[in-house]
């Protein structure tokens, strides 16, 4: 396996003065003025709903996805998967830890980077990939407690279906409009470092707040029953998760890539506790997969 270089980002010049274009209060005016070109309806959907589908025109797109799946399969006990005995499994940064260049290639696809640049108004770069052979049944959450940015909102997720996804396979679910909820940090919940570190899954500390938001605001769940090659962009703060896996013998091959944007400060809000050192671990130096 060829050693993979991992570059970390430390912006020489921060720009803390602007918001993502899709988060601008006058986003609809920008759409009307043609600021998003061919991505107008996607921009409006991200602004209003917090998610949207990006059409990839590259004829090599599906073959690339086939490569990703084919190279991941040897890492999975496919027999256990087919018999429904495989628990939720994921491969984080497979391009780095398993040397799968195609995972990185998918994350850095020029059509994705170009669309994100137009939608957010800044150059994007992928900093993390996750590959899933089956459903995660993950509790709904906002990614913005795990990784976020200053200025707020310069982070997003992209979910790509590596195969057709069945409703019984535990598809991706999300709550349109929930991206407008306030961004949360551990300090907003009065959490100390000790409280966060004591939890094996500290996301659980935030889940009651999100459940309250769903109850109070009445956000409705939608499922992403994707066809192979479909690509969903979701806003940093959109509540999303995995539906229960009704048929554990079904696979749900997918790749999630998280993107940051240039000239921001990068944070882990989960570690931004009431007693956090102002220069502490809540500040990130993310990887930049576009740098080789």
């Amino acid at each position: 396996m060829v050693p993979v270089k991992a570059h970390r980002v430390t912006p020489a010049a921060l720009d803390l003065a602007s918001r993502p274009l899709i988060d601008q209060p006058d986003c609809e005016g920008l759409v009307a003025a043609g600021a998003f070109g061919s991505f107008s309806s996607l921009a409006l959907q991200l602004h209003l709903q917090g998610y949207g589908l990006l059409q990839i025109d590259d004829p090599l797109w599906l073959p690339l996805l086939g490569d990703v799946r084919a190279q991941l399969e040897p890492l999975v006990d496919l027999q256990a998967l087919a018999s429904g005995e495989l628990g939720p499994q994921r491969f984080q940064d497979a391009w780095r830890h398993h040397g799968l260049a195609c995972v990185r290639e998918l994350a850095c696809h020029p059509e994705i980077l170009s669309a994100l640049h137009v939608l957010y108004g800044r150059q994007a770069f992928p900093f993390q990939t996750l590959n899933f052979p089956n459903g995660t049944a993950q509790h709904f959450h906002s990614d913005a407690i795990h990784f976020h940015s200053l200025p707020h909102g310069f982070m997003c997720g992209i979910w790509v279906a590596l195969e057709d996804i069945a409703a019984e396979a535990g598809p991706l679910v999300y709550y349109p409009g929930s991206h407008r909820e306030p961004y949360l940090r551990a300090r907003d919940l009065g959490l100390s470092q000790a409280q966060v570190l004591a939890e094996a899954h500290p996301q659980g500390l935030f889940e009651p707040v999100w459940r309250d938001a769903l109850r109070e605001k009445g956000y409705r769940q939608e499922q992403f029953l994707a066809r192979q090659g479909d690509l969903l962009i979701w806003h940093a703060n959109l509540l999303h998760g995995g539906a229960p896996v009704k048929n554990k013998a079904l696979s749900r091959w997918s790749q999630v890539t998280h993107y940051y944007f240039r000239s921001c400060a990068y944070t882990t809000p989960l570690l931004d506790t009431v007693d956090a050192d102002p220069q502490g671990r809540q500040w990130r130096q993310p990887l930049d997969l576009t740098q080789r």
């Binding site: 003065a17 200053l150 306030p182 907003d188």
Partner: protein, 317 residues
Amino acid sequence: MAIKSGGLGGILGMGRKRGSGIQGGIEHLLPGRITGWAMAKGSELQEVRLLVGSHLIARAEINQPRPDVCDQLGMQGQPGFSLTLPTELPPLDWNQPVRLLALTADATNQAELQLIGQKKQTADRLRALFQSEQLGLEGHFDGLQQGVLQGWAARRGQRQPAQIWLQAEGLPPQPLPCDQWRGGMEALGLSNQCGFRLNPGQLPGGWSGRRVWCSFDPGGQLRLPQVEEVLVPAGSSVGQLTVPAAIGEVMPLKLGSYQEQFDFAPEDLREHWQALEQFRLFLDGFEEEINSFERLSLSKEASPGRLGWLGRLLGRC
């Protein structure tokens, strides 16, 4: 470097930045906002940019009406600006220069703006503000309305209520939690639970008739904007609520020892308490005398249903 200017021009900070033809400055430095004005002869200024070294912290267009400035300069335009500050900052090297620049659209003409009347302190004041806990707080002291001191304070995107301080010269500040409903604030990106209301009758006695203001910080340096002077109505304070033990710390009257409460009480309240204390000591002494007398009597006969000193004073013995 600015050229000196007298009269109203001096108040407005109408010195000219050498070489740029730009005039203006910072009028108000608030935790959440910097306001001021800037104008240039021969070119149109587009925006102000706040920089720490090469990092752009905030920017705003120069587009707000300032007829007072235009009249004074004999120029036309909208030279005012209101720059919203971020609510949090990443770790920055504070040895780098901190500057507020006014510049044209193509940045060919630019000048550094400074605090009007405090030019040399501008960078230090900005640095101190950026590193303060109050960064990003916004608010307003409405004054006394329908007999109640009221206003609001909040930080954009923050769930927890802000706390500000009611101030009067020479008195310990009173904490004011800003957690009461105030409609319409969400439209400004703030929580609707950001108001404060205080009945002056709940203030300690020393506040009666005093000129008051609100500040974001307990030290009283960062004042909330207010339209006019506010006086606590004379005779409205009754000293029922709390007395600050020290800046940033509050001790309810019902807690703490008598001496602690006494030490931190306003002066007029202390006199009142001292008079009561002397009367209590007098009564204690009087009771002691009665007890001594009774002890002598009891040695001669038993005394069933013995009453306390107050009962005996009231003639029930």
